[in-house]
């Protein structure tokens, strides 16, 4: 145990002095990623505001002139109507981005309105950017409401008589559950990915780097066995990867706290505070530890085999998909935490965290996740040890 600690202490000091490792494991997750997220949110808000304030260029057929819709829309300062002669011209203008939307009503629109019949209104838009479609539909709904009322008066009907039932929605989900639904899958995806990246960088530096720098022979001829060396090194990789994951979440939370108040509703910020309790954080870290051991366990054989950093990263590249895919499964709708999913590595951590974010009681599934990861982590370490002990790999 003492020798494991000696190796651990030295390796920790060594990686803490490596700028490349520090950049990947500390600087990027803590500052850069949250900053990028912040910029993305800010840009989205600005683009949304810009679109809301932009006057809509609406193409209108000359044949449809003079009906009630045209008159109402003409009075809207946020809409500028342009006239054209055929539908093809509307479509071409939208495609060429000369128009934001187009509208076409049947020729007998007004007469059908007068006869209390239903008229057809066709709208044209490009679904690449449906902001204007939504705005146009909202405007048409507003115009439709008084027309319906007028028709009811004319027919001497009350609204109740033509409404067999009304649907009232009562969403019993708390804000926290809503938050869990939308962001619960995203958060574990981020920290699982970061812990893998951190683990990868450190494992390659600690194992392949030792070979590349020519220090492996020196170390292996000292009175410390290979298991002790491997445990010391894996210890550093696990510490670094867990730290990276924690920092990636802390970074996002820090940015929310410092800069999010203007763009994120106060209630949401309050919920974030309620979610990230010490117990929540402890439960996530405890799950992350065997997960990072598992990551290390699958990366050590590659890092031991590779002659240099370049070879190691090229062999490890496909492993990224093996991590991303199970983490993404948890973001899919309908995928729930159960007896089976709690035994699937990576997916189980993502689902457990997602449920915990939503405030659900994960109970037995958390223990199943933790226990299964311990088993997978141990198996991966045993496999690693076999590869690390293989003299053909280590002195390749």
């Amino acid at each position: 145990m003492k020798k494991i600690f000696i190796v651990y202490r030295k390796e920790l000091l060594d990686v803490l002095r490596d700028k490349r490792t520090l950049r990947t494991t500390i600087l990027i997750p803590t500052l850069l990623m949250p900053f990028i997220l912040f910029v993305i949110i800010k840009v989205q808000v600005l683009v949304g505001e810009h679109n809301d304030q932009k006057v809509m260029r609406l193409f209108w057929l000359n044949d449809n002139k003079g009906n009630v819709l045209e008159k109402s829309l003409q009075n809207d300062s946020m809409i500028k109507i342009k006239y054209c002669n055929n539908i093809q011209q509307i479509k071409d203008s939208i495609k060429a981005e000369k128009a934001d939307a187009g509208l076409f009503t049947s020729a007998d629109f007004s007469s059908r309105m007068d006869s209390n019949l239903t008229s057809k209104v066709s709208i044209f838009y490009n679904s690449k950017d449906d902001v204007f479609k939504n705005r146009l539909i909202s405007k048409l709904e507003i115009i439709k409401m008084p027309l319906v009322q007028q028709r009811l008066v004319r027919l001497n009907l009350s609204e109740e008589k033509i409404t067999p039932f009304k649907i009232e929605e009562h969403d019993i989900a708390s804000t926290q559950e809503m938050f869990g639904k939308y962001f619960g899958g995203f958060l574990p995806y981020i920290f699982i990915l970061y812990s893998f990246m951190g683990c990868m960088m450190l494992t390659v530096d600690l194992f392949t780097g030792e070979k590349e720098r020519g220090t492996i022979e020196t170390l292996l001829t000292s009175p410390v066995n290979r298991l002790q060396i491997m445990f010391g090194k894996i210890g550093v990789a696990v510490t670094g990867a867990t730290l990276t994951a924690i920092l990636s979440i802390s970074g996002i939370l820090l940015f929310v706290k410092l800069f999010g108040s203007s763009d994120i509703p106060v209630e949401m910020i309050k919920v974030i505070g309620q979610i990230f309790t010490p117990i929540f954080i402890a439960k996530v870290i405890i799950m992350l530890l065997p997960l990072t051991v598992f990551f290390s366990g699958i990366l050590v054989p590659v890092a031991t085999y590779a002659k240099n950093y370049r070879e190691a990263t090229s062999i490890i590249a496909p492993f990224n998909f093996l991590v991303i895919f199970p983490a993404m499964i948890a973001m899919m709708p309908g995928v729930k935490l159960n007896l089976i999913t709690s035994l699937i590595p990576i997916t189980n951590v993502a689902l457990c965290t997602k449920n915990m974010v939503a405030g659900d009681n994960v109970g037995i599934y958390w223990w199943l996740t933790f226990a299964s990861l311990l088993v997978y982590g141990s198996l991966a370490v045993i496999f690693s040890y076999r590869q690390f002990s293989d003299e053909q790999n280590i002195l390749r």
Binding site: I6, L13, R213, T218, P223, N225, E391
Partner: protein
């Protein structure tokens, strides 16, 4: 003392991380570095040299002595310990030095030496005395707190020597220790080898430079294609080859076989 008895090493061929199948190239490479039934003995207070061309199997033999590789067959005894039965104990008795310094660039000389002293289980007092003695002898004090990555090759080699000798090993293994070094740095190594002999340590070193061997060694084994072609004292080798220069004698021995 080192006793090598009927030592053989065969490397199984391996050529890909995902698909481990045999290939002709891998087979050829493994044969080039193998060792074929060799025996020799290195005695305390004498310098034993393994001489041979590249790929002769010298490094493989030294790696087996240092417990880095496991023999396919045969026996190695180092300081009265069987290397296969007691590898950790054997490693605490040996110092291993190669031409490539094998140092951690991000550590200081002090940290590097302390790390290996800790791995060797040295107590604080012994470590301080030993470090002070070696640092003074080699003039390491002035750059002891500088990161190794910033040191010159000569300085690095001095740190490497301290690292090798910090636990005062009974047996010292030098694998082509002067390879790639300038004359002055190489002279430090030669001085160290002589110093080890004077301290009655068992010294084995590999080389392909005849002049170096002539300068230092007491006993000599010439290796080629994994086999030992000559194994006796240096005096006998000189006597056998009379008027020939030693380099010519070495080439003649290798070509004859």
């Amino acid at each position: 003392m080192i006793s090598v008895q009927s030592l053989t090493k065969i490397f199984p061929a391996k050529n890909n991380f995902f698909f481990k199948k045999k290939s002709e190239t891998a087979e050829m490479l493994s044969r080039a570095n193998s060792v074929d039934n060799i025996s020799f003995e290195c005695k305390p207070g004498r310098i034993f040299s393994l001489l041979g061309p590249n790929g002769a199997g010298k490094t493989t033999a030294l790696r087996m002595i240092s417990t880095l590789l496991k023999p396919s067959s045969g026996k190695i005894i180092v300081a009265n310990l069987d290397v296969e039965e007691f590898p950790t104990q054997v490693r605490s008795k040996i110092g291993f030095l190669t031409g490539s310094t094998g140092l951690y660039a991000r550590l200081t000389a002090n940290e590097m030496v302390k790390y290996f002293a800790d791995l060797n289980g040295l107590d604080d007092a012994t470590f301080k005395n030993r470090k002070n003695e070696l640092f003074t002898l080699l003039g390491v004090h002035e750059f002891a707190n500088k990161r190794i990555g910033t040191l010159s090759t000569g300085m690095k080699q001095k740190v490497s020597i301290v690292r090798t000798m910090i636990h005062n090993p009974e047996v010292v293994v030098f694998d082509e220790p002067t390879s790639g070094l300038d004359v002055i740095t190489a002279a430090n190594i030669i001085e160290l080898i002589r110093h080890c002999k004077a301290q009655n340590k068992t010294v084995i070193f590999s080389s392909h430079i005849m002049e170096e061997v002539n300068l230092l060694c007491d006993d000599l084994a010439i290796m080629h294609n994994g086999k030992i072609l000559f194994n006796d004292t240096m005096e006998k080798f000189r006597a056998e080859h009379g008027s020939h220069s030693l380099t010519e004698a070495f080439i003649e021995t290798v070509q004859k076989n």
